[in-house]
Amino acid sequence: MQRVQKILAAFAYAWLLQSAPAFSQLSSLETKNLRLISYDRSHAFVVPHLARCFENAFRFHSKLFSYTPTEEVTLLLQDFGDYGNGGATAVPFNLISVGISPFHYAYETSPANERMNALMNHELVHIVALDRASESDRLFQSLFSGKIVPTRENPLSMLYSYLTTPRRYSPRWYHEGIASFLETWMDGGIGRALGAYDEMVFRTMVRDSAYIYDYVGLESEGTTIDFQVKANSYLYGTRFMNFVAYQYGPERLIQWVSRTDESRRFFASQFEHVFGVSLEQAWSDWITFERRWQQANLDSIRLHPVSRHRELSPQTLGSVSRAFYDKSQKKIYAAINYPGQVAHIAAMKIDDGAVEHICDVKGGALYYVSSLAYDSSSRVLFYTTDNNKWRDLNMVDVETGVSKLLIQDARTGDLAFNHADKSLWGVRHFIGFSTLVRIPPPYTDWNQVYTLPYGKDLFDIDIAADGKTLTGALAEVSGNQKLIQMDIQKLMKGDHSSEIIFDFDSNSPATFVFSPDGRFSFGTSYYSGVSNIFRYDFEKKSMVALTNCETGYFRPIPVSDDSLIAFNYTGTGFVPVMLTNREQEHVSAINFLGQAVVERHPIVTQWKLDPPSESSINIDSLTTYSGEYRPIDHIKVTSLYPMVEGYKDFASFGLRMNASDPILINEIDLSTSYSPNALLPAGERLHARLNLHSWRWRFLATYNAADFYDLFGPTKTSRKGYSAGVQYREFLVFDEPKTMDYLVTGSAYWGLERLPDFQNVSIKSFDRFLSVSGRLNYQYFMRSIGAVEEETGFRWQMISHNNYVNGVLFPRLLSNLDYGFLLPVSHSSIWLRGSSGYSFGEREEAFAKFYFGGFGNNWIDYLDSKRFREYYSFPGVELNEIGGTNYGKLTLEWTLPPLRFRRFGVQSFYMNWMHLSLFASGLSTNFDNPSLKQTAVNVGGQLDCKLVMFSTQESTLSFGYAVAWRDHLPSSTKEFMISLKLLK
């Protein structure tokens, strides 16, 4: 859900930032089960096909799961990234987001067949698994008017959410596992259940006697610190599903996942109900089985001599890009990404393995990091950034490390350098097509060479040293892949004919590169089930194997006639190795667990979907509407549930209603409650809050505002009186993680007794005022794999608060500056946070002052847990105790590496990590008046513990302690804080 929300937020901003207004209009195609929305008319060509794929998969799932959806599925077609993806949620709406771009095929982690078909097969499994409801689910959905989204403002919504969609509260491995498992059979054998990469990962673990996560540890540690991060959910999930299917049968697997009337709510309870053993036991059985299975595979490989290699680095490099060897310097250049450091380009000396940092890579991709090409004559590397969005093309001098942006949003990768004419070649992804492009010097513009038909893709290209031949891997609609070659001269004249070098069938011909003399091409393939290196002889037109590897070799670089460099897969990442360039006579195949499933349970072959052809699915006859889509026309109530709030020291009971459109562009949130306590004046017993959100605008109105967390204190946000405000937010720069935005808010308050922002400041001379504030924010933060928060970067804010009270304007201006950098210790950073402010009002006036004090956390809270970083916080001192019309504050903070737990709890409740921050601050107010000047210093720390309940409900338990000294007080003051932040 969070991922889909991020996509929708990005969609909203990207749609509004479109520089081609001719294409910016939402349109939809609707059938009984589908609402397919696209925002760009240039995507229209694929809409009918996508709709057919949806209907095709939907029919299958309806039958297999006996599934009747609670509502139609909204499908958003987008082009936010150069590589395709998908995401799905069923809360509050059935929603799928589909990226139009081709997939990335690194290490065969994605299928190479037609992607819309594959995506629909996969994503609809998520919808079914989440949306299929039992009778009791339907009852609660009816009672609460929908599927509840848990919100931190009303934590009771967590309970309601579980009652309406219990299967949402299962771990990611469960959802991704069943989706990948089913997708494989629906696609006729293409998918992770028959994935060579998956076999390699577990084979390597067994070989190295590595720790295989249990199902709690996987969520706690395995999906966060491993260089494969969230991909572990797919790996473990699919593997476990394969095992369960093998042992118990695929039909019982379906029974486990189906939320029927007889099923148990919690996914683990349902497992025990279906299989008669606990999930924990079954997981343990799987690990035992896996060790034996992979041992047999290792025995198979060892039938013939295993290749020997020399490791070139004492450390693993995490994920690694295509690499280049500089013979004169004896260095390898590659982009790398491993836990503890942000993605960067590095040079590694092959003599001693020393790694030098050349430059950072903004937006490194998970497996391939960045696309690289090397001009050895100028000693310049070309590389891509923003690899998860629209790629930018850059260059860097490997000597100086000075980099330069060449083409923004080039959307081009798979780079190859033509030494003959110094041009750069690549494959561009734009609106779902792959285009071979040429970028001549000075590399500021690209030219189309050849656009492939939709569904075909070209990747891993290389150009011979003489500049005459280009090779690459060609993926067909069927998923078949071939190594091909093309004549460059012919290509320049518009002749894009190609010659097939080798047909690898369903195996990917990966990263085939020319030898320096052009006589050979070296690459890898999972032909035997293991990724080994192959060499193609252009003269003899023959392909031979060079290695017999236990784990896998990737990305070979021919170094000389008798040796080559490659990357060997290990459990912690890739290690560069040196190998002999010699033919391997025999290589045995391994067995795939998925193949064993097929042989033992041939029923999975009956799950093969027929293609979504025009003859079988007439989308025109199914279409109920085709035309403009206006989100505002599709707003409906998504939930209505009882709630409890706090108002001052009293409890208040009421209802909350949410409404929105399916793609969450427009949202309405209305709460009303009543405090029955007679101690409250009658005029303060009724409470209401209205929150409207549409695109960039937000409107908020309150009456005697109440808040759930005021039930727990000490911070109180409930206030007597009225307020109405409007807010507008706009991005000036949206190049994540680099953004610049401004926020303007105008509010009116009346009937007040205290200041809205400072609970301990009462007001007597007025009860109403107007407020206009603005904030300009620029930030550029980065984090490494395994981080729990941002670890390095910069933020600058300029904030203006202006209050208009009793005919007098009180302007206040403040500025914040944060700067952080990573220490040599992984995940440990130093932060410098500075803030200063000036108020132009009279010192006696409450509105003219800034107030400081306290950690600021409530015992039960929903705002940021690390509030000690806010400019108005000053731990060790009471809330709002220090005031002034001007101030300066400086904080030095040291964040220590988080302590992650492999297993600290049970499936339904466990602790993920602990994170300690230590800080010291100095504050001074009223510089301009020595008699009123106040100075304070403090030291303290905060320990945050991430807790996870029911797989997806994250909360943070915080402990804080600080000691403060003030200049006019004889002794120090202390503060101890404990706070539980619900939902993140």
Partner: protein, 178 residues
């Protein structure tokens, strides 16, 4: 499903077609494994014994008399290996429960598993020679003659051991109130 007889497959294998032996493996791996398992009552070691049995059979295939039944010869190797194992181990073990049976409801699986476990416990208390004939007769439905051929003892000895095995087993089960 391959319809070729064992003797044809053996001949093919002897002429160099190793794939024919794989068919024999597919045909007999489960019964050979079960012979070993019921005699020694250890899942992992039974797999080892099954592996050794087939390897020995393959290596000595040239010595096999094709007039005899292949499976008898195979079982003979398996029982000999199992007995050697027992001599080396000289201990009885309880049934290991890490095997999985199929197509049963959890209740059925539980009842049968418990019953099988009790029986196996009792079996392990029998003299190995008695146990073997019981296993070959009841679990593999072999005749006295076939068992005699496997164990290379007279039929009379087979009967004597089998009947005594049943008697002893009955007494063991009665003693345990099973």
């Amino acid at each position: 499903m391959n319809d070729k007889s064992d003797s044809v497959l053996v001949k093919e294998c002897l002429s160099g077609i190793k794939k024919s032996f794989e068919i024999l493996v597919d045909r007999y791996q489960k019964p050979v494994f079960n012979v070993a398992f019921r005699i020694i009552n250890n899942y992992d070691d039974a797999a080892e014994i099954a592996q050794t049995t087939f390897i020995k059979a393959f290596e000595n295939l040239s010595t096999f008399d094709t007039k005899r039944k292949f499976f008898s010869w195979l079982y003979r190797i398996a029982t000999n290996e199992s007995l050697n194992y027992l001599k080396a181990r000289k201990q009885h073990e309880l049934l290991s429960d890490d095997h999985v049976s199929h197509d049963q409801t959890p209740d059925e699986k539980f009842d049968d598993a418990e019953s099988d476990e009790q029986l196996q416990t009792a079996l392990m208390q029998l003299n190995p020679d008695y146990r073997i004939v019981l296993v070959l007769c009841h679990f593999h439905n072999l005749s006295y003659k076939e068992i005699s051929s496997i164990l290379d003892v007279p039929e009379k000895t087979v009967k004597s051991r089998l009947f005594s095995a049943r008697k002893n087993l009955k007494e063991l089960l009665e003693r345990e109130n099973i």
